[in-house]
Amino acid sequence: MRHGLLKKPWLILFFVVVFLIGGSWGTLAKAASPHEAIFDQAHLLTRVQKAKLQALSSRLGKDRKTDFLILTVNGTGGQTLERYVEDFYDSQAPGYDKAHGNAAILAIDMKERDVYLAGFQKAKRYLDSGRMDQIRNAITPELSDGQYYQAFSDFMHKAHDYMGYKPGVNPNSILFKWWFQITVSLLAGLIIIFFMAYRSGGRVTVNAKTYLDHQSSGVVNDYDTFLRRTVTRRRKPSNNSKDGGGGGVTPGGYSHSGSSGKF
């Protein structure tokens, strides 16, 4: 008893410390939880819109195990929007199942009219800078028109869709389009049927070699005279720099994909 009492204050202190640490982890986890997805510091959304986007983010995020976050600011205090997003990721530590986890972030700065998209962890692999460019290009007109709610929900839908494609595959490839698949299938059917009907009456089985006398036929005389040489130069397409240039590494050491532009 005495023994236990003696140790009691120490134990209390221990529990308090554990509680505090746990609490601070708790707040961190709260920031990282799917409950907080819309950081509308520029006040672009109504309460209802915010709630809708929040619900959409949790629903789609659960499917891809990724946080889809919207960040609106009115000025970034002098730094680039990319840096702002990096700091946000470092400090807020979002992520679907852990701190600094999978997250796709759409950030807009109303003051500079900058837009930046970033993908971390799984979202970095599945939403590489090329795909982020495609998403940004798709939603920029809506942002320019001031349809923020529409643009944000499109971002979430598109990011969710694109994450269904393996990394390295162009999700906008014509191969994935319904109309293309159906047209090609119907054409293939038509061509093969035509071919079968044509062949139904017996096919031609003689070719150029059937009647040729190989021994006495051939090239009797030939020459190939070199005339001239021309060289044309063109610049290498700068695709690579465009794709890879959007990403970077946060000061906290987390690498990410990204795409930046104006709206």
Binding site: G201, V204, T205, V206
Partner: protein, 342 residues
């Protein structure tokens, strides 16, 4: 002048047997070798338009033939006869490929072919409405052609390489010349007015190792026609047939170039040799839905050609199947690439 082949033993009519390639007597089974059968016909020469009526010396009935008929049957006593003056003199075929497929084999082969038809109606596939099957020797000219080709062209060869930030395309220009000598041997062209050219072309190839010195007994028991077109008349058609072969050969000599721009192309084709042959064809008349379809079968190889009826239902089914299959394949590829099934 009508020729009969009587069995030296019993006096019955002999017919040609495709299996052994000899004359056979149906009554007593005697077999006569065609190569050694006395041939005294080729000297006789008559005008081909002379008569269209003959009297069968077997039974006395009057045989009425068209002016082109060379071999036929007497419609009364069934004896196989050859009208000798239509295969003699300048009308004498030089060579013949005898039938190697008997009538029974031809029927079986035709039935088998019908069963394989993927687009033909079901009722057609059973092949139980064969109206008639007739063995015919069709007149063909075999041409040996020589083509002298002289072509000159400007050709290019391209290579690309990288140099710093630039992609360089290097194009080398050549002036190329080819002098080509081509010999095409035994290209067949049917010389019968009645036969569809396209159909006859599809019957090819005949294997020429079966080509025999012409003897009239080969024709016994079959129908045969004499030619309607001379080799001179058919030459343009044969030249047209080998034109694409020549073009293919020319372009094959320019392999290795990325582009070939022909500046001059001279093709001179000459008829080296042409000779008149009779080639074996089974003609099949088939009755389906009150319409008669005609098919031809190569009497040497058994290859069947013709224009069979096509079933709309089957075509639709195949079309649907192929289109659906392709779509499914697309979806699977999309799925593999991570695009999701829908």
């Amino acid at each position: 002048m009508i020729l009969y082949y009587k069995c030296p033993s019993c006096g019955s009519d002999m017919t040609f047997d495709p299996k052994s390639g000899e004359l056979i007597c149906d009554s007593c089974g005697r077999i006569e070798n065609i190569e050694s059968y006395p041939e005294e016909l080729k000297q006789a020469e008559f005008s081909p338009e002379e008569t269209k009526e003959y009297q069968c010396e077997n039974c006395g009935a009057v045989l009425i033939t068209t002016a082109d008929t060379v071999a036929t049957h007497c419609s009364f006593c069934g004896a196989g006869v050859v009208i000798g003056d239509r295969v003699s003199g300048h009308l004498a075929p030089k060579r013949v490929i005898p039938f190697t497929i008997t009538k029974e084999e031809a029927i079986q082969a035709f039935k088998k072919w019908c069963r394989k038809g993927l687009l033909t109606p079901k009722g057609f596939m059973t092949a139980d409405r064969i109206q008639s099957i007739t063995g015919m020797y069709i007149p063909f000219w075999l041409f040996d052609l020589n083509s002298k080709v002289q072509v000159s062209a400007i050709c290019t060869r391209e290579s690309t390489y990288e140099e710093g930030d630039y992609i360089c395309t290097e194009t080398e220009f050549y002036e190329a010349f080819r002098d080509i000598n081509l010999n095409y041997v035994k290209i067949p062209a049917d010389a019968s007015e009645k036969m569809d050219d396209e159909l006859m072309d599809r019957l090819e190839p005949f294997s020429y190792d079966q080509l025999k010195e012409f003897k009239t007994p080969y024709l016994v028991g079959y129908l045969a026609e004499k030619y309607n077109y001379t080799d001179e008349e058919l030459l343009p058609r044969v030249k047209g047939k080998i034109n694409e072969y020549i073009e293919a050969y020319i372009s094959s000599t320019f392999r290795g170039y990325h582009s070939v721009d022909y500046r001059q192309k001279q093709i001179e084709t000459n008829n080296v040799k042409s000779f008149y042959v009779l080639l074996p064809v089974w003609m099949v008349n088939y009755d389906y839905n009150n319409k008669v379809y005609t098919f031809a079968m190569n009497g040497e190889t058994g290859k069947v050609v013709g224009f069979p009826p096509l079933s709309k239902g089957k075509m639709a089914a195949w079309f649907g199947g192929i289109a659906a299959g392709t779509l499914l394949a697309f979806k699977c590829v999309a799925l593999l690439m991570g695009g999701g099934f829908l």
